[in-house]
Symmetry: C2
Amino acid sequence: MADWYTTFANSGFGTTITKQLGLPRPAVLRRYEPGQPLLPGPAVVGSAGDGRLRDTVTAVLRDAGVTVQSPVTADGGTDGAKPAAVILDATGVTGPGDLAGAHDFLAPAIKRLRASGRVLILAAPPTDADSPAQAAARQAVDGLVRSIAKELRGGSTANAVFVPEGAEDSLAGPLRFFLSGRSAYVDGQLLTVSPADVPADQDEERPLAGTVAVVTGAARGIGAEIARVMARDGAHVVAVDIPAAGDNLAQVANEIGGTALQLDITAAEAPQRLVEHLRERHSADGRQGVDVIVHNAGITRDKLLVNMDAARWNSVMAVNLQAQLDITQALLDSDTLQPGARVVCVSSQSGIAGNRGQTNYAASKAGVIGMVRAWAPLFAERGATINAVAPGFIITEMTATMPFGTREVGSRINSLQQGGLPVDVAETIAWLAQPGSAGVNGQTVRVCGQSMLGA
Amino acid sequence: MADWYTTFANSGFGTTITKQLGLPRPAVLRRYEPGQPLLPGPAVVGSAGDGRLRDTVTAVLRDAGVTVQSPVTADGGTDGAKPAAVILDATGVTGPGDLAGAHDFLAPAIKRLRASGRVLILAAPPTDADSPAQAAARQAVDGLVRSIAKELRGGSTANAVFVPEGAEDSLAGPLRFFLSGRSAYVDGQLLTVSPADVPADQDEERPLAGTVAVVTGAARGIGAEIARVMARDGAHVVAVDIPAAGDNLAQVANEIGGTALQLDITAAEAPQRLVEHLRERHSADGRQGVDVIVHNAGITRDKLLVNMDAARWNSVMAVNLQAQLDITQALLDSDTLQPGARVVCVSSQSGIAGNRGQTNYAASKAGVIGMVRAWAPLFAERGATINAVAPGFIITEMTATMPFGTREVGSRINSLQQGGLPVDVAETIAWLAQPGSAGVNGQTVRVCGQSMLGA
């Protein structure tokens, strides 16, 4: 469950070699397995200012069977086992001075954090602040959490969730995600939740039970892994890919007990064909339609812009962006999208940071980010959500063909010092598809190990 | 006017050496000199969709004596001299399909771009779009321009300006800045302008003539350079620094015919002392008060968070963030801030990307970004603005003390493959201080050569 270098560097022989040569020794990440406890140890919860989220946090932790420790004090007091998570409620900060409390709590607590630990800072959005001083203190959380993520070692991550007033119920799902092994490769990120009707309980072992989920580009790589993880979480998966990938597609669908649908998503009639397919098939409880759609299909046609012909530009736009727009619109216009539906679109780090040789790809993937942000209010009216994930360097068959140096540098320039796995992207998408993610809407979640490459 | 490596790599001997060793040969950037034409060659202007900014762009170019070329077509047609600037009006795009026009125009035009050229894409904000398809196409500009910036060589830059409906008058100032040598080290950035009463004309040689400008931390480094550039542009500069830096401060003030004010900006009485100083002194036309304030003073106290004491945390917060808040508030509360005032705050790339060993610094500099965004609406009501600049790797006395390897890597990991100079930060700040920058408010402008390190 790790790339070859990480496996090697953590073997007995590899440890010796990497130490002697001064090579990085990336940690084996704590990844999700069904039945696993939410955290492998206690959580310590503290606050800066007079926060409003402590009860929500404590309830989630208690429900999950996690022991809650009182804050460790700077004078060296400890309280039992080393924490697996450090959680700061910073919603009460009114100005920069209150952040002294953040420092006082975090510094000694993080010092005791165990490997594959989690640091999570909860704050109110800077854009909602009552004063410039409060906005400054809230925005400071951004620089703070990104710096902490860059300092942590041993497979630990740091992320932040911005929780507006009235969106307290939306926190539980993201909180569980960030603490769990599902978020293993999500690091240095800031998520903003919004008010929503969040179902009080979901089956944490099979959160997608009874749902029908469409996954495009499902014949191989990340798409196939998305299909597997969603099936594991209980979904009936409609695996979509082009006819040329038919054999692989059938294999994936058979493996997970799903349905294979051969479809060129850029064809003019593709949206209507998908709608008709979804109308005809019946899910377990007799519903027609779809609960989850994952727009994963994508292509690259790299070339410097000055040498790029129109065909390369247009084909990338058609597959990566226009097809997502057209299919989503067709589902909205038909009666095939269930209330509470989840649309998850695959963007890319290139859509955030840009990339040399990828003007077409980066433009299309940035477009996806603009699309989900713009559609979010309409989806919210339906009790549904639309979000994007932006993978960084993920180890796939495609990256295996890169020159060794490019691949090795690409996989190391992030805070976790390793490439991600397809399952890391799949877990994030499957989490966004959960009923409990109702308060996450219009967001783009990076799955990049806190890549150094950013906007 | 360039760092030692850039100077060396572009010398006859250095060119030979760097070629043989395969070392980067960063271009000598086109930097601003008074009296210089806006562009050293013609500009080619094109559009994707039916744009609304062509007239504004053409007027600015004609006023500045720039020849405007018709678009170069993909079939190889040329139109005189190679362009020094390629400008795309993409305000008319309604969906991803319209971006084919962006590709058709940009690819052949950029192929002919001369060294130290400028690519500028003008678009409407994705957040104002009429449809998800339009939002997607507008956001695509983000990925496109960042990718182009990463592809350009020879000291050329690519940036974008988002112009909402009704903010057309706000474009001229930013357009001039991005085309000029003032923006030499601003690359891969996206600026959003807002509607404002922009003075029809300003003295482009001495845009700050008749103004009083306070610059904190002015005794050395970037602060001293800011003071020099603002004085060159016509301002009477009140140079502020701590008493311990008094000799240097006096030297800077004397050099530029300004005033020296010794002040510890973190002292409780500092804001009031500054207000009183500004009330007492009279500018050329008998006004009391200040037109421009540049919050440049800042400190670092680096340490991993787990080893950071409260003193390091608190002192960085006090100087870098709380003092900016307190002094700005005192100026607002008093009668010392002129209508149309400009406040420019120095943030940092660390405040955007975070940095290992700089939790305190990054938090304070992120705070500055939140502060200017929050204060912008109030400033707009007064016809004033508040903005931030975020420098990347700038070559100063401080960076000279870094280990060789750290310094060399730090200065190369950006699209211009070199560190910036203090004057690059100063030119950007002086531009934000101009009357013509009235439509730039609440923004953070990075001066980082498109650093790879981002959020």
